[in-house]
């Protein structure tokens, strides 16, 4: 009986100590998240600087890919209340002049170096901006995480980006006009 009482005491202290320790870690990490905040910076900074850094040899294969990247950037920035406008984007050191049309109208027009493309989802057009933008914004970040992250969030949560363009169920069909 005395062992059981001792056990109850240890359990009470133990549960409290485990929760206390992990709660302290939780608040520390929340604080660190604020101090070392990085979200939303990468894409906007590189666009504002007029270039997107990439390793040599990993640039887009054609302007269709550039159109898809431009569309993703525009959606991402729109989500944050900014416009891509007519600013050039640079990929692997190559500048592209891009313009992205109204994201709330389907299909969305994307112009890359004078070549015109139209983007829609499964041929039916993009959802309204408020719905598509956060998804695209997040996916653009996700493409920078490497293969493991993409494989963890494949297909059905929307499209994902690979060297052949947007892919997967619900992917964006970017077609040359």
């Amino acid at each position: 009986m005395s062992d059981l009482i001792e056990g109850l005491r240890i359990s009470g202290v133990g549960v409290g100590a485990v929760f206390g320790t992990l709660a302290i870690l939780m608040f520390l990490m929340m604080g660190m998240g604020r101090v070392f905040r990085t979200d939303g910076v990468a894409v906007e900074e590189v666009v504002a600087a007029g270039g997107v850094e990439a390793k040599v040899g990993e640039g887009p294969e054609d302007t269709v890919e550039v159109a898809a990247i431009a569309l993703a950037l525009a959606s991402y920035m729109k989500e944050r209340g900014k416009e891509l406008g007519g600013r050039p984007i640079a990929i692997s050191g190559v500048n592209y002049q891009v313009e992205v049309g109204d994201l709330s109208r389907s299909p969305v027009a994307v112009v890359v170096n004078g070549g015109s493309y139209r983007a829609s989802v499964d041929g039916e057009g993009l959802p309204v901006t408020e719905q598509i933008a956060p998804v695209l914004g997040t996916q653009m970040r996700d493409t920078q995480r490497g293969r493991n992250w993409r494989s963890a969030y494949p297909l059905a949560q929307g499209a994902y980006w690979d060297r052949r363009g947007w892919a997967g169920r619900g992917g964006l069909g970017v077609k040359r006009e």
Partner: protein
């Protein structure tokens, strides 16, 4: 030729005939090897454990002197200088840290609470084990199985109840392999299909390099200050992780997470198997340990799920409660189970990376729980 020496060659057969329990233990060892090879249940551990059981039961001198502090057999040496003093489990934890990715946890720190809640089974089963007649130190070792983490279980048992090291380690690793069977019914019981179908967005924020670097240091300092006896476990885990995230010790991180941990794992497995001689293993106490371990797993799983449901009461954007089950630290099986259950309810659900958050929190929480037991009982 000395005819007496020739008759000694048959001594093994005589021993087998004299004690049929040896044959049973050899069969048990064979079954573990079979499960590892044919069914893929934790093969990295079940193969060495199965082989250790067969070796020590057919040739007991391999463990001669292990418990008297005068090791003579090779496995007795490894046990005395590697496991009994906790070196091998701690070094394995270093390798685990080097392999671990804490990013999903750091991107949503609320997951720390799920890992803590999933330790509830540890303390409840600790109490049940005391009521069942185990010594208080033994009960702590039985309870810690509910944390589903091998190295802390071995570490604490080697210190508090070395006589139970064999059955407890076997139970811990066997149930870890059975997570895909044990967890789903409990999760289904505690959640509705609608809850399991909740789709979660990808990580809410990215983790900066400075944040990833600060985490192992801050975690170790926090654990060492609050629960000093958890410092060896948390320290090794976080040191391994620091090697990984520092970006300047790739070679060390790669070694720690590959060859280093592999060698230690099979030494641990072989020795744990060698602790299971017939007279130690074939006792009612072993069956009781296996039963209590299953209960600890189940209660811990329930704790994680219920905590996720509780947290949802205060959130606008709900968390899929299935990922709470991954708070037991069976990495990555528990996370895979969450992914499977989520997708079963909604094919467009991808919970794997979310579930890795509570999973990693569970690893830390189990180390802290082990430290608490050591702090109070040793």
């Amino acid at each position: 030729m000395d005819v007496g020496n020739l008759s000694d060659l048959a001594a093994g057969f005589k021993d087998l005939g004299a004690d049929p329990r040896i044959i049973l233990m050899v069969v048990i060892g064979g079954v573990l090897i079979y499960l590892g090879i044919a069914k893929g249940f934790e093969p990295l551990l079940l193969l060495p454990i199965g082989m250790g059981i067969i070796l020590v039961n057919l040739y007991p001198p391999l463990m001669e002197g292990a418990f008297e502090g005068r090791p003579e057999g090779i496995l007795a040496w490894i046990y005395s200088y590697g496991i009994k003093n906790g070196i091998i489990p701690l070094l394995i934890f270093l390798g685990v840290g080097a392999m671990a990715d804490f990013t999903p946890l750091l991107s949503r720190p609320i997951y720390f609470l799920f890992g803590a809640a999933a330790q509830i089974g540890v303390f409840i089963v600790f109490l049940i084990a005391i009521a069942a007649g185990f010594e208080i130190e033994e009960a702590a070792c039985v309870g810690i199985i509910g944390g589903s983490d091998g190295p802390p279980t071995v570490y604490i048992t080697a210190i508090l109840a070395p006589q139970l090291l064999g059955p407890i380690t076997l139970a811990a690793y066997a149930y870890m392999a059975l997570v895909p069977i044990i967890q789903p019914p409990i999760v289904r019981l505690l959640t509705t299909k609608k809850e399991r179908a909740i789709v979660m967005k990808p990580e809410s924020r990215e983790v900066s390099r400075r944040g990833a670097l600060a985490f192992p240091v801050l975690s170790f300092v926090t654990a060492a200050v609050l629960i000093p006896r958890s410092a060896p476990l948390v320290g090794m885990l976080m040191f391994g992780n620091l090697l990984n995230v520092s970006g300047v010790t790739h070679r060390l991180a790669r070694s720690a997470s590959t060859v280093f941990i592999d060698v230690l794992t099979f030494l641990l497995g072989l020795c744990v198997g060698a602790l299971m001689s017939a007279e130690v293993f074939l006792r009612p106490q072993t069956l009781a340990i296996l039963g209590l371990a299953a209960l600890a797993f189940a209660v811990s799983t329930a704790g994680g799920v219920l905590m996720a449901k509780f947290v949802n009461l205060f959130r606008k954007e709900p968390i899929n409660p299935v990922i709470g089950a991954a708070g037991v630290s069976a990495v990555p099986m528990a996370a895979r189970v969450a992914q499977k259950l989520g997708q079963e309810a909604n094919p467009e659900n991808f919970l794997l990376m979310h579930a890795m958050g509570p999973n990693m929190a569970g690893v830390i929480a189990t180390s802290v729980a082990a430290g608490i037991f050591l702090q109070i009982l040793s």
